[in-house]
Symmetry: C2
């Protein structure tokens, strides 16, 4: 059977691992490398979907755990699927809920069957299994579904990671067997293995043997030092096939995005741009700024003079500071718009640089400005 | 000197007091009768200004009291005025702050000079005088400025109302004398007089003698029974000149808007459409609905099947209920959009009906559906 999504490698940067590609999906093409905005609860926070689309987004992410609990996947199925329910007609990737239930700490228990947990909303008891996670995602109708895995904690000893990885691989088999609708939805595997190189390798090899249309790297950026993360990432990418997209989960700051793309990552996601927006923070070409800062009180220039987003074209720092301090939703709306646009535009810059075999130069130019070393 | 704004009467409904007109302002024409969305703190809550414009709004309202305290009128003057600061290039009306400071209760003290009050934000001490209210509005650059008046409480005895009205008239003289920039900004007077017909009449006559480009009716819809309010309103309108716009302050539910327009009111404003939106309420052609209601859980129809607003074209009741319950700003964004559109569209319907001398029929058709008596 043909998979719903396919990856096409367009160009490989001459001096780094960075690669330029395109993912074909039933809801349009995705130019890679790509940053995916997150709409956890079927809404990208403080944004209308067409605004996300207008800034260039071709795929957004949503979440199995949250949508299963509220409003329920059967309701979304009745609504005609997640695309229609949330008014987004481009591609959607849904996370499996694994990460979320593992994050519940005391409220969950892992068994071979799956994870028993209590809802963070009302304390009600549930079980998420590989079969259930796939069933939910089939109901949602996302273009890319993620396998139900265990995102192991950091730090964790070798024995724990080995056991966890083995279980994740068994669960992956079960996910694959449970998957319906392969012609419209593709299931990605998630590599685990903690900070252990050989386990990462083994996990990758066994996943690749099972053959998936795409592979994610999970269990990174979970608290480990950046150096260590990048070292592991270097290895992980090596173990993955050239002809499938590679997705580094939960990464979304400019520096991590550059490091990831440089190593051959095609897809990233993070709630950060919209989350920091609600706290009054903006990412700009000259670094991060805090709009609450008194020095912006009478600053009538845009958030980022080099940005051409809706926010920067129409509003001053003074205005955004005012609406933030006044508690107006407008501040989150404007800052979310800018922060998402910034990352999406940065990724477009990376794609162009890769095409021109000048990723390294582009990264240096960006860093020099971003870190003020220019 | 010519006034910044002028009123043109286009047509008078044959059987009611309803009238169709246009207000010419330095920031474009306003078709009347008009409902004015409110952007108290230089932002219409949960809306981008161009969305408000797209639904047909030609004027919005903002507030002297709030903008004086935060971010400060001098800052807005430096920003190039309120239009530019908040990215709204059509007409703006600013309330004088009178209503807000009087609403502070214990935190304010009225003297002949003005009103001493403590900020609701940080408790700092201020005084708002007629001169100050005008100076602030001159700095903001609103097309229509409101005189600084006392909105007397309800109920209040005749003596209190008489004294208050006399002071309001003295303050009105001071506002007029303090007003700069008449060629770009027009000052409207506000009629008071409580529920006393003869005092309303006297107030109106003395204001009209002073000659203003527009007149507002204040001190109504402050808690009195609807019957009484409409009776007073009947009289008030009679005392005002035909060739100036008449503004009924703080009115914004469909029934009050119909009653006001029927009596010859041209302008109304209210925070209600965006406020109720944040509480999950929608105004529809079949009455008000509460999106939190369980019966909407699987209702995949739009908020109002007869509405063609952005929200109704793209989202179901089930989706809006979901994002409301999930605490997403999206719910306020979608409901505010619908509620504002509903009133603006309803006013457009009234304008057309007046042009066709069928205001009474239009009102009956609307009420039959709205109250479910059809």
């Amino acid at each position: 059977m043909t998979d719903a999504i396919t990856y096409e490698l367009l160009h490989q940067d001459r001096r780094t691992g960075a690669r330029r590609g395109v993912i074909h999906t039933p809801h349009g093409d995705i130019q890679t490398p790509v940053f995916m905005p997150v709409g956890t609860q079927a809404a990208v926070k403080a944004m209308r979907p067409e605004q996300v689309r207008e800034m260039g987004a071709e795929i957004i992410l949503s979440n199995t755990y949250h949508l299963y609990l509220r409003p329920g996947h059967e309701l979304i199925r009745e609504a005609g699927g997640l695309h229609r329910f949330m008014n987004w007609n481009r591609a959607i990737l849904t996370d499996s809920g694994g990460f979320q239930v593992f994050s519940l700490g005391q409220l969950r228990k892992i068994t071979e069957e799956g994870v028993r947990f209590q809802s963070h909303i009302d304390g009600s008891r549930h079980i998420l299994t590989p079969e259930k996670a796939v069933e939910i995602q089939n109901a949602l109708g996302s273009d890319i579904m993620m396998a139900f895995d265990e995102c192991a904690p950091y730090p964790a000893d070798r024995e724990y990671i080995r056991d966890s990885m083995e279980r994740t691989l068994r669960w992956l088999e079960r996910c694959k067997a449970a998957h319906r609708n392969r012609e419209r939805q593709s299931l990605f595997a998630i590599m685990q293995g903690g900070m252990y190189r050989d386990l990462r390798r083994e996990c990758a090899e066994r996943m690749v043997e099972m053959d998936f249309p795409g592979y994610a790297i999970g269990g990174l950026s979970v608290g480990e030092p950046k150096e260590q993360m990048l070292e592991i990432l270097d290895d992980c990418v090596d173990y993955l096939p050239q002809d499938r997209p590679r997705y580094l989960m939960g990464v979304g700051t400019p520096d991590y995005l550059f490091e990831a793309v440089e190593r051959g990552i095609d897809m990233c996601d993070c709630v950060e741009p919209t989350r920091i927006a609600r706290h009054g923070l903006a990412t700009t070409s000259r670094g991060r700024i805090n709009i609450k800062n008194a020095r912006f009180e009478r600053d009538f220039s845009p958030l980022d003079p080099e940005c051409d987003c809706y926010t920067c074209r129409n509003y001053s720092r003074a205005y955004i500071r005012h609406v933030f301090k006044a508690g107006e939703m407008m501040s989150a709306m404007l800052l979310s718009n800018h922060n998402l646009h910034f990352l999406i535009n940065m990724m477009a810059g990376m794609r162009k640089a890769i095409e021109e075999d000048r990723f390294t130069e582009f990264k240096k130019e960006f860093y020099d400005k971003y870190y003020g070393t220019a």
